[in-house]
């Protein structure tokens, strides 16, 4: 679901966020993301050490972030939410910030943020999302 047949991905990461993830990984070990919904710090990506947050059958694996020097970082979202996001390409960025649920980056004074754009026609075709017929 997350990756098209020719390797097209629906997730990416900015260079600044990639550098930051390298630092966080050095401090906390391998990381993963789960996109949150709802109030307060919701509608934002939460970043956890692998194993802290359990994904399950109710989640969609959107893809993985490829960052030099790191194992691929998986990105998940609940299947409910994915229904509304399936036409969207996500780029994980980082801004100055303060709080973030239990996400790992907040003590650094940073907050991950999703930048998004609609998938283009080629990507929609890759993911089988073009209208049929």
């Amino acid at each position: 679901m997350g990756t098209g047949e020719s390797g097209t991905s629906r997730v990416a990461v900015t260079a600044e966020a990639g550098d930051f993830l390298r630092r966080l990984t050095a401090a906390h070990g391998p990381l993963m993301f789960h996109q949150s919904g709802g109030c307060c710090d919701g509608s934002s990506p939460m970043c956890y050490p692998v194993g802290m947050f359990r994904t399950g059958p109710g989640d969609v694996r959107l893809g993985e972030l490829r960052i030099d020097g790191l194992e691929p970082i998986e990105v998940f979202m609940s299947a409910f939410q994915f229904e509304y996001w399936k036409y969207t390409h996500l780029t994980i960025d980082v801004v100055d910030g303060r709080g973030s649920g239990f996400s790992v980056e907040a003590p650094e004074g940073k907050r991950f943020l999703i930048r998004s754009r609609l998938l283009d026609d080629a990507e929609l075709a890759e993911f089988g999302l073009l209208p049929q017929g």
Binding site: H34, Q35, S36, G37, G38, C39, C40, D41, G42, S43, S44, M46, Y48, M52, F53, R54, S78, F80, Q81, Y84, W85, T88, V95, D96, G97, R98, G99, S100, G101, F102, S103, V104, A106, P107, G109, R111, L113, I114, R115, S116, R117, L118
Partner: protein, 528 residues
Amino acid sequence: MTLTADPSAVAEPDDVPAADAPTVYARPGEDGSVVSYRARYDHYIGGKYVAPASGQYFEDITPVTGQGFCEIARGTAPDVDRAVDAAWAAFPAWGKTSPAERAVILNKIADRMEANLEALAVAETWENGKPVRETLAADLPLAIDHFRYFAGAIRAQEGGAAELDQDTVAYHFHEPLGVVGQIIPWNFPILMAVWKLAPALAAGNCVVLKPAEQTPASIHVLIDLIGDLLPDGVLNVVNGFGFEAGAPLASHPRIRKIAFTGETTTGRLIMQYASERLIPVTLELGGKSPNIFFEDVADAKDSFYDKALEGFTFFALNQGEVCTCPSRALVQRSIYDGFVADGLERVGKVKQGDPLDLSTMIGAQASNDQLEKILSYIEIGKAEGAKLITGGERADLGGDLAGGYYVQPTVFEGRNSMRIFQEEIFGPVLALTSFDTYDDAISIANDTLYGLGAGVWSRNGSQLYRAGRAIEAGRVWSNTYHQYPAHAAFGGYKQSGIGRENHKMMLDHYQQTKNLLVSYADGPMGFF
């Protein structure tokens, strides 16, 4: 002001702004201010302030200017352990106090807050960025009334005695859970803390509370005022970040319950921890609340119509940082053009400015990351093809407010399938659409992952009732919005959470049921 639950329930505070009160409050710590923050706040554990185990502090920033104003202890697991120890040490005595004793204390807390309402309101505004007219008229009066409500509720609560047969009686007693954990959001830092604290304390529990890292300080202004009223260790506050202090609290092996207000991923993580400890949770996780305006609203341009226009504009209350923000407006097509034009005119009159100015209606978003997220959603709305009708920009208020986090009230027109209609932006951003029939309205209203709040506006009582019952949400405001009286249950359907807050039923979330099953029969049952 109708924002208060029941204005008559809150007596005139001793220091309510007098007629000659300033129109702009001095900033905390400046000459003439009604309140000052301390330079640094440690953890409040066992009735005194203790330094964090890590020795580290972080800066607390006011969103009014974007500048730091105090330091906050950076809590970690050892601090949480210490707080849980202090709470358990206090519990044997506190849990055995009579309801009357606890009610007296809760009422004293309310009285102390009322006598210092203005100071608390200014402190809250400075930390959160919300307009002082809201903190004066809503946040603090509601918090005060909440303590009084639960002081009354615990006095009036009774167990039960059931005569099962002539010789057998089932007695039901309420008992406190013990030590509970509470994780507080940043949108109403004091009020949301009180929503959790008042029922927990009334029921005889001891509390370890973690304020949001965006707004950790105003709760300490409150503790400075009321700390002496509670026995040491009954209420403990551990500051810090979610990852470092919130997770150790939520996963602590010696808490008996965890309550959280926030977003869905953290909500799941808290349930995951709770499942490992087999403890109950209450979760309030937000929404994407529909606000439905049926055509008969426009039958007359009277005071009811005026009220409905205020209802349309309520998305801007608290800068949209309300879990029940009416962020989707559904307007019947037959009145759409006229009603929306009038609604936009009302939105245009929302005065944005210095949150400490009594005339300001919309202040600052609570944090820089919140500002960035809202702006990113405005871009998403544009990219999806929603029509930007008004606003859509960061607001530059000049002077040192230019460093604050202000967003113009923003209205988009679009379709309910768009992401700005489906995701909680938690900002002053309204997603507006039309509907044709009653069935359309209900279908659009319920086409959401969430079900926390909703609004319905109609002059037809039966339509109002039917719509209210058909909407899958825990709170349906009918011909009103954004009222939060203590005696009305608040909580979510669907992905909006588990459990309720407010109302005396909230006591159940903080109590065990003890059943004594007693036989008064003289002889054996006859099995053996």
